[in-house]
Symmetry: C2
């Protein structure tokens, strides 16, 4: 009987366990992570920069699935659309991380690098400096709201009595499959059209 | 010593307690509600239609703050914008309810009535039946993503080393206060402009 080959604790395993807990419960605690890994709470703290450090590890893990190669596409709005679709898919896989991650500041260096690329792409395109963050944040609003919707039940409205809401019943009857995708693509197209118009206005 | 004047348990108090728990933890359990109210878990179940029933009570409580009088405004896009702003404010007050409520179907009759009004307003305006739900869902994506953003820290990006992400540092330096509001209004305007164009295309 030698020592186990994989160490009991490392940042990868702590992150994986925290993500499992958030997927299940919407939250995690350091003692819960320790319990699942058969370790002492103090030992977990030895590997990470406090609870906030674990939140940043979660952010890095989820954002790793975002394709930031999208920023190399042309034209710029195709790049933003590809980034948005990939961003949405990454968070739709772990929707319960969304309120946790949006409630604390972005510190993870790898994630900050993704924002750096997004900002650089918009500045290159000629967006005024003051518009760049609002454009990115507006797109994120849309992406994260839609990621939550992707995790929603396919039948999102249950009418016990159709006669109480007859118009809603008709509108629901006319909805095709993939309602979430259709709504997202509609909102994305609208947003990018609007942002494109802002850019044209700002150009000399 | 008579009986207490307020009954220990009723749906209002159960809802209030569930909302406190979700605001604090992102989740609630029926035993937790019972403990806070000094009651037996079985007694709580006596007042509500299971855990799902409590989720619907939460939905009703949060959505009560949405002004559905907005649907009476003209033109229709001013009505949708007013509804969206009020919807966003209601959920920004309780952002941790968002993933809980989007993960289960809408059954609360009062909330279904709000959707009925939204659908009726869009049908009156001439939107094709199949477009009505996508238009509403796209708007909700934007609203809920932004409600999460309103609950975010004012300084959402913390750069330990500005030289690692120089463009991001510049863009953040140019952001004025109320970044969340500015991004939301930009996305809302874009969305409604796009939807207006769809309506004009569909009109004979």
């Amino acid at each position: 009987m030698g020592r186990p080959r994989t160490p009991l604790l490392d940042r990868e395993r702590i992150t994986t366990t925290a993500l499992e807990l958030v997927d299940e419960q919407g939250e995690f605690s350091v003692p819960q992570i320790a319990r699942r890994l058969g370790a002492q709470t103090a030992s977990v703290y030895h590997h990470v920069d406090g609870r906030d450090g674990i939140v940043e590890l979660l952010r890095e893990r989820v954002c790793d699935a975002i394709d930031d190669g999208a920023f190399e596409l042309t034209p710029w709005d195709a790049a933003m659309a590809a980034w948005a679709r990939s961003y949405r898919a990454a968070f739709a896989a772990h929707p319960r991380t969304i309120p946790l991650l949006t409630a604390s500041p972005v510190r993870a260096p790898k994630v900050l690098q993704q924002y750096e690329k997004a900002v650089a792409r918009l500045l290159d395109e000629g967006f005024p400096l003051a518009d760049v963050m609002p454009v990115i944040i507006g797109l994120e609003n849309l992406v994260l709201g839609s990621a939550l919707d992707m995790a929603a039940p396919e039948m999102m409205w249950e009418l016990a009595d159709e006669t109480a809401t007859p118009q809603l019943a008709r509108a629901l009857g006319a909805v095709s499959e993939s309602r979430a995708d259709r709504a997202f693509e509609m909102a994305l197209a609208g947003y990018l059209t609007h942002v494109r118009a802002l850019l044209d206005t700002d150009r000399p």
